[in-house]
Point group: C2
Chain length 235, copies 2
């Protein structure tokens, strides 16, 4: 199964941007597991383009730490997460995402709030049916629907790069825990806070939401004495 594919919609979009979007999407959804090797030519062949635009997309993802180049050998792969790194990612997410949510609060439209309810419904549905992919998609849609309203592109992009780094690991977390024992999210509280227009309540809900998610990830990181060296190759 190919986990990456090109969006063949727009005609004049740069190829390397399409490749970037495809790769970023696959990463943020956790479709490419940590430590999974990636090669320029293989990707290029799968996407039906020359290695050139793939190089540019990959260079960009490396800059965002969504991919890494192994030091001695020069293989390209999805980075692994250390405990130290998770703690930093947690701190960063606990700052930007509540900030974005607070900024978005006075700008939330009725339509956006409706989309939030819709996304949360999809999320609950995916949760009860054990659909990990659907859960991650709905959760991502929920959060970034909020962040898009904040009108703060620098913070938005920062949040994006942070999700790009935690994405591959979220799938691992669900693999260990399953969707059954997920703690209750704070989406309902958040929606209520949006409707009453209380930025600080929104901020608090978002921070709890982020914190609890990252605590789960931290537990998984700590619990793996040694990661199984089994590597699946996503092609």
């Amino acid at each position: 199964m190919r986990v990456v594919s090109l969006d063949t919609a727009g005609g004049d979009a740069k190829v390397h941007d399409q490749v970037y979007d495809a790769l970023a999407d696959a990463l943020i959804k956790g479709q490419i597991p940590p430590l999974n090797p990636v090669s320029l030519r293989t990707l290029a062949a799968n996407l039906g383009v020359s290695p050139m635009p793939v190089r540019e997309a990959v260079r960009r993802l490396i800059a965002e730490k969504a991919l890494e180049l192994q030091p001695s050998n020069k293989r390209l792969r999805v980075p692994d997460l250390t405990e130290k790194r998770v703690l930093q990612l947690t701190k960063a997410r606990e700052w930007v995402e509540p900030e974005l949510a607070a900024l978005a609060t006075p700008r939330m439209t009725k339509d956006a709030i409706r989309r939030l309810r819709d996304d949360d419904a999809k999320l609950m549905k995916a949760l009860s049916s054990g659909d990990v992919g659907g859960y991650m998609q709905a959760n991502q849609d929920f959060h970034f629907c909020i962040y898009a309203q904040a009108d703060a592109d620098l913070f938005y992009d920062l949040a994006r790069t942070l999700w790009l780094q935690v994405g591959p690991f979220m799938r691992v977390v669900f693999g260990r825990l399953g969707t059954v024992q997920l703690p209750k999210d704070h989406h309902q509280d958040m929606i209520a806070a949006f409707e009453s227009g209380d930025p600080e309540a929104v901020r608090a809900s978002m921070q709890s939401d982020v914190r609890e998610g990252m605590e789960m990830m931290l537990d998984v990181i700590r619990s793996r004495a040694e990661p199984e060296p089994k590597r699946r190759r996503a092609k």
Copy 2:
């Protein structure tokens, strides 16, 4: 005068990394003014390499928003700063850099503090002699000497990308204000706080330092009704 040059030291460092370092250094020091056009081939010729590694370095800098591609026409240039963007950069810097300083506090070695004193001395010297380049260099050394001690690479890199974005504009600020009427920095307070090992005092000093610098920048942004369309080409 060529504002970018390759570090010809290490032999096995990738060329595109050297190009990146050279460009990033020039940008962070404000040696390339905002809106200054940049071209792959010109840079490649100046650096004595093929356009290929320059493309990769530039792609990385675009990802970090240190360079931008004009939308309709496809020229490459140093981004301009809007008021909205400065406000976001201020918020971000006021969070990461005090955080880094606080993290660095218990890890500060005698040697690092000595370097701080040294950098601050250079800074004062450059200030009194009106040496803008020397001032920016010393200020950068001072801050990143601290950040390097924090042992938090995610935050460190974030601070770096933020400086990359404000760098070109700092030079503009000094061009408007001159080095004479700079407000007193908080470097002395900070050094004292480091020596007494008080993270919160360090954090407060750093935040004031960042805030006042960014307020100066914001004033300059606001004061320019229309920027002079005069563009110098740095070659």
